[in-house]
Amino acid sequence: MSDLITIDMTVNGEAVSCGIAPRETLADFLRQGLELTGTHTGCEMGVCGACLVVLDGRVVHSCLMFAVQAGGSVVETIEGLSDRSAIADIQQAFHERNALQCGFCTSGILMTAHSLLSQPGVPSRDEIRDALSGNYCRCTGYEAIVDAIEVVAQRRAATPQIAEAVA
C-alpha cells in the first residue's frame, strides 16, 4: 500500500518525477504533492467539476484517476493556464462580470470554458449552459458565468487573432 511508484509527467510545462503511492488520486497529488492548490476537490466522485484539469489536451476529473495513471502525460492546471496567459481573456471577462463569488468552483469552470471556447464557432447560451452541466456552482446561480463565457466567445469571434493566440 505504501510502496511508491516513480512516475514522470509534465505538469504546467515542467518535468516532474515523483514517488507516488498507487492509491493517491491525481487531484491529491497535484494539491499536496505539487502544492498546486488551485485545483479543488468538492465531491471526490466526479460530479462537481471543481477538480477539472487538462490532461493530454482533454479536460478530465483529476479526482477520478490515480496519479500513477498520469505517468507520461502532460497535465495543465489553472496555475499553468494562468501563467501562460492562455485564458487571460476568460479570466478578465469573469472578473468584469463577477462570474464567481467564493471562487472554489472557478478553476474547474475555467477549464470547461477554456475547452468550450477552444471549439470553433460561437456557442449559444443553451450550449454554454449544456457545457457547464458538469460544473456545480453554489454561489452565482450560473447566469453571470454564462454571460462571461458568451462575451469571450463573441470577442474571440470578432477578433480571430485572439483566439489563435491563446489556443
Partner: protein, 791 residues
C-alpha cells in the same frame, strides 16, 4: 451629451457603482487560499469513526488494533475530550422554556444520529488516519430511532434525552385574539397542509479547520472556514479554558458558507482538543459524504395553515400550525429554534391583516442537527402565505396581481407593525408589484399562456411577495445571552505613502464584502478605490464584531465603514489645516488631494500629509499630534431589524406526461435600500434565487424509517445545475433606512426567500387546468405525477 451630472459623476463616487471585486483576480488565477489548502509544519490529520446507527448506546470502544497502524499519533474518544472541553447547550433565554441536552465534542455514552462522529483518529496523513479508523471497533446497542415529527411527540415514544422529559425542544403560540370568530364568519376560507423537505447548504468547499495549539505561550491559532471568527474565538476560549487573548481565529478565503459555517460542529470542537493533546497542528476537512451527515440541514417543516378572506378577497386572518424537526439537540450557539420562530412570525408579513394565530412546535428526532441556513424561515413562511393568497384569488376569481394589490400593506402606511410584532420602517410592496408586472410583461405572458394551452402546452406563472429580515440588532441573539455581537468595528489608517488600510469585522465569503467596504471608505474619505486595502477575517488583526450573517454585512458593516471614514477624514483635515494654516471646514479631500472645499483647487496631496505626520512631525506646530489611524464601532440602535421587501415571479413549462418542469424565466424586484454595488447586489439575488429553486425542485435529504440518510452524496442529492436554471431578471426599488447614514439594508437572502414560493405558485398555475395541486417542496416529477393522478 449634456446630461445632468449625477452623484456618480463626483470624484471618488463609488456608492451605487458596479465595480468588480479586486480580490476576485486571485481566485481566478487559482491563487485563493482556502483552509483546505493550508499546510503547517508538523501538521497531522484527523479522521472520525462515525455511528452507523441513528440511536444507540455505546457499549464499548476498542482502539488497540487501530493504534498499532502506521502513522497513527493519537486516538481520542468522547471521554478523552470531555476532560478538556466543557459541554455546551444550544438554548437562548428569550425563547422561553426551550430546552436542549448538553453536548460534547464526541459522545460518551450514546449516539443520537446516523453519521455522528464517535472516535477521532489522528495520523500523519488523512489516508493513514482513515486506514486506522477502519480498525476501531465500537460495540453499539441499537435503540429505537425517533424519526417522524408526529411519532416523536406521541406518549410512549422513546425520549432521545430522557433528562428533558420529552422530545419537544420548544413550543410557542402567538394569538392576537378573535381568530375563531373571523373564521366562523368569513366569506372564504382556504387551507392546506404544506411540507418542506430537509435540505442542506452543499457549499463547494466542505467544512475545514486547522487547529494549532502551542502550550508554551499558550496560544491557540485556528484556521477555520467560517463566516464568524469572533464567535468561534469566544467559544474556543470558553469551552477549552484558554484566555480569549490567546485564541486567534483566522478565516481566509471561504468556499461558500450560506449560514452553514457559523454553527458549532462536533468535529471542529474535537480538533481543537486534539491539537491541545498533541501540541501539534491538526487538520480536518469534511469529505462530501461526511458533509451530508454532519453539516446542518435546514427547513423540515410541516405547516397546516388557513386563511380567511371576505367576499371581496380582502384577507382577514391567518391560523397556522408549524411543526419542525431539528435533530437530536438544538444547534449551538444560535439554537435551532430561530428558523421556526421566523417561520411563524413572518407568515403574512407583506399583508395588512391584523388577526393572526400560530402554534410552533420544535421537535427532537434522531437526525443530524437542523439550523440556520440562508433565508432562515423565510421560504417556509413565504410559500405558505403566497400559496394561500393564490387560493383566495382563485376562490374570489381575482387575478394574482389584483389580490395582492388589494391586500399588500400600502406604501404610505409606514411605520407600522405586523400582527406578530415585527416593526416595519418603510416598505415598497406596491411599487415592487407594479415594477414586476411591467418587467415581466405580465399581460402578454398570460395571453401567450392561454394560447399555448390550446396547443397542449402547459405553462404556469407564479408570483410571490416577501419581507426579509436584515441588519439585526442585539434583539436577535444578544438579548438571549449569546455572546454574538450585533456591532461591528473598523480600524482605518492612512499609511505613510498615503494609501488607506481598513481592517473591519465583517467577513468576506465571496459576496463582495471587501469590495463594498472599499467603495464606501474611498467615497467618504475621498481617495481612489485602488488605494484602499480592506482586511477581514482575522480576530487578531480586526476589531471584534458580529461579522457576516443575517444580511448584516452591507447595512451594519457598511455603516461602520462610513462612520469610520468620516472620522478619519476629520483627523486628516485637522492636520492639513494646521499645515496649510486654513480652517478645516474649508478643506475637503478629493482623489487623494486636500482641496479647497469651495473650488476643488488642489492644495496638498494626502501622501504629503502622511509623510509629514509620520516622518517630519518636527515641522508641525507644538501640540499637534496627527491621528491618522482611527478605530470606530457601530451598532444598530433604531429599529430592531431593517426589513426589506420585494416581489418575485417564476415562469415554468410543465410536461404533464413526465412530471418534468422546465423553468423558463425568473424575475425579482427587490428593495434593499441603498444599492452600494448594483452588480454585486444582483448577483446575490441571482445566487439566492437559484438556491431557492433548488429547494423548490431538487434538493431534499431523504431518510429511511430507521433514520438513515439515503441520498447523502452529490450523485444522489440533486443540486441546481446550469442547464436547469433560467436567466433571472433583477430590478430595484430603493427605500433607504433612515436608521443609518448609508441607508443600506441587506440583500443576501432575498432571492432565496421567495423563489420557491413563486415556483410553487407557477407549478400550481400550470396544474390548475388538470384540477391538480401541490403543496410540497421539492416538487419532484414523482410528486407532480401523483398530483396529476398519473401514479
Amino acid at each position: 451629451m449634456n446630461a445632468p451630472l449625477t452623484d456618480l459623476d463626483r470624484p471618488n463616487s463609488y456608492i451605487g457603482r458596479s465595480v468588480p471585486r479586486p480580490n476576485a483576480k486571485r481566485l481566478l488565477a487559482g491563487r485563493g487560499r482556502y483552509v483546505t489548502d493550508i499546510v503547517l509544519p508538523r501538521m497531522l490529520h484527523a479522521a472520525f469513526v462515525r455511528s452507523p446507527y441513528a440511536h444507540a448506546r455505546i457499549v464499548s470502544i476498542d482502539v488497540d488494533a487501530a493504534r498499532k497502524m502506521p502513522g497513527v499519533r493519537l486516538i481520542a474518544t468522547g471521554e478523552d475530550l470531555a476532560k478538556l472541553c466543557s459541554p455546551w447547550v444550544g438554548v437562548l433565554d428569550h425563547f422561553k422554556s426551550m430546552k436542549s441536552p448538553p453536548q460534547l465534542p464526541l459522545p460518551v455514552d450514546k449516539v443520537v444520529w446516523s453519521g455522528q462522529a464517535v472516535v477521532a483518529v489522528v495520523a500523519d496523513t488523512r489516508a493513514l488516519a482513515e486506514d486506522a479508523a477502519e480498525l476501531v471497533y465500537i460495540e453499539f446497542d441499537e435503540l429505537e430511532a425517533v424519526v417522524d415529527i408526529d411519532a416523536a411527540r406521541e406518549p410512549g415514544s422513546p425520549v432521545i434525552s430522557p433528562e428533558l422529559g420529552d422530545n419537544t425542544c420548544f413550543h410557542a403560540k402567538l394569538d392576537t385574539g378573535g381568530v375563531d370568530d373571523i373564521f366562523a364568519n368569513a366569506a372564504h376560507i382556504v387551507e392546506d397542509e404544506f411540507h418542506f423537505g430537509r435540505h442542506t447548504a452543499v457549499t463547494m468547499e466542505p467544512r475545514a479547520i486547522v487547529a494549532d495549539y502551542n502550550a508554551t505561550e499558550p496560544r491557540l491559532t485556528v484556521h477555520h472556514a467560517t463566516q464568524t471568527p469572533y464567535q468561534f474565538q469566544d467559544l474556543y476560549a470558553r469551552h477549552y479554558g484558554i484566555p480569549e487573548s490567546c485564541v486567534r481565529v483566522i478565516a481566509p478565503d471561504i468556499g461558500g458558507s450560506f449560514g452553514m459555517k457559523l454553527h458549532v460542529y462536533h468535529e471542529d470542537m474535537a480538533v481543537i482538543g486534539l491539537s491541545m493533546m498533541l501540541g501539534r497542528p491538526v487538520k480536518y476537512v469534511a469529505d462530501r459524504m461526511e458533509s451530508f451527515v454532519s453539516d446542518i440541514h435546514a427547513r423540515d417543516h410541516r405547516v397546516r395553515a388557513r386563511m380567511a378572506a371576505d367576499a371581496d378577497g380582502k384577507i382577514l386572518a391567518m391560523d397556522v400550525e408549524d411543526v419542525t424537526g431539528i435533530g437530536a439537540f438544538s444547534a449551538y450557539p444560535r439554537t435551532s429554534v430561530v428558523e421556526g420562530n421566523q417561520v411563524f412570525r413572518l407568515m403574512g408579513a407583506p399583508y395588512g391583516f391584523q388577526n393572526y394565530r400560530a402554534d410552533l412546535q420544535v421537535v427532537f428526532q434522531n437526525k443530524v442537527q437542523m439550523s440556520q441556513y440562508r433565508a432562515v424561515g423565510h421560504p417556509v413562511a413565504c410559500t405558505v402565505t403566497e400559496r394561500l393568497v393564490d387560493l383566495v384569488a382563485a376562490r374570489t376569481e381575482l387575478d394574482v396581481f389584483d389580490i395582492r394589490s388589494r391586500n399588500l400593506i400600502p406604501d404610505d402606511a409606514y411605520p407600522c407593525a405586523s400582527p406578530t410584532g415585527y416593526k416595519f420602517e418603510a416598505l415598497s410592496h406596491h411599487a415592487c408589484l407594479a415594477k414586476l408586472r411591467t418587467m415581466m410583461d405580465y399581460d402578454e405572458l398570460r395571453a401567450e399562456q392561454a394560447e399555448l394551452r390550446t396547443k397542449g402546452i402547459h405553462r404556469g406563472i407564479g408570483i410571490a411577495a416577501f419581507v426579509e429580515i436584515t441588519n439585526p440588532g442585539p434583539a436577535f441573539y444578544g438579548v438571549g445571552g449569546a455572546r454574538i455581537s450585533a456591532q461591528d468595528g473598523a480600524i482605518l489608517k492612512i499609511t505613510p505613502s498615503g494609501d488607506v488600510h481598513c481592517s473591519i469585522s465583517v467577513t468576506e465569503l465571496g459576496q463582495g464584502t471587501e469590495t463594498i467596504i472599499g467603495q464606501i471608505v474611498a467615497e467618504h474619505l475621498g481617495v481612489d478605490r485602488a488605494r484602499v486595502k480592506v482586511i477581514t477575517g482575522d480576530t487578531e488583526n480586526t476589531p471584534h464584531g458580529g461579522a457576516t450573517w443575517a444580511c448584516r454585512g452591507a447595512g451594519i458593516g457598511g455603516e461602520t465603514a462610513l462612520q469610520t471614514a468620516k472620522k478619519l477624514k476629520e483627523n486628516v483635515l485637522s492636520v492639513a489645516a494646521t499645515i496649510l494654516q486654513e480652517q478645516p471646514d474649508r478643506l475637503d479631500i478629493q482623489d487623494g488631494w486636500i482641496v479647497d472645499a469651495a473650488t476643488a483647487q488642489q492644495r496638498i496631496e494626502l501622501s504629503e500629509i502622511a509623510r509629514i505626520a509620520y516622518f517630519r512631525s518636527d515641522t508641525l506646530p507644538p501640540g499637534t499630534q496627527a491621528q491618522l489611524t482611527v478605530a470606530h464601532h457601530y451598532a444598530p440602535q433604531g429599529y430592531p431589524f431593517a426589513f426589506t421587501n420585494g416581489m418575485q415571479a417564476c415562469h415554468i413549462e410543465l410536461d404533464a406526461e413526465t412530471g418534468f418542469v422546465k423553468i423558463l424565466k425568473h424575475w425579482v424586484v427587490e428593495d434593499c435600500g441603498r444599492v452600494i454595488n448594483p452588480m454585486l447586489v444582483d448577483e446575490q439575488i441571482r445566487g439566492g434565487v437559484v438556491q431557492g429553486l433548488g429547494a423548490a425542485f431538487f434538493e431534499e435529504c431523504l431518510y429511511g424509517d430507521g433514520g438513515q440518510l439515503i441520498n447523502g452524496s452529490l450523485a444522489d442529492y440533486l443540486v441546481p445545475m446550469a442547464v436547469e436554471m433560467p436567466d433571472i431578471d433583477v430590478a430595484h426599488v430603493e427605500t433607504l433606512t433612515m436608521d443609518t447614514q448609508l441607508g443600506a439594508k441587506g440583500v443576501g437572502e432575498a432571492g432565496t426567500a421567495a423563489a420557491s414560493a413563486a415556483a410553487l405558485n407557477a407549478v400550481n398555475d400550470a396544474l390548475a387546468p388538470f384540477g391538480a395541486a401541490l403543496s410540497q417542496v421539492p416538487m419532484t416529477p414523482v410528486r407532480i405525477l401523483k398530483a396529476l393522478g398519473h401514479i
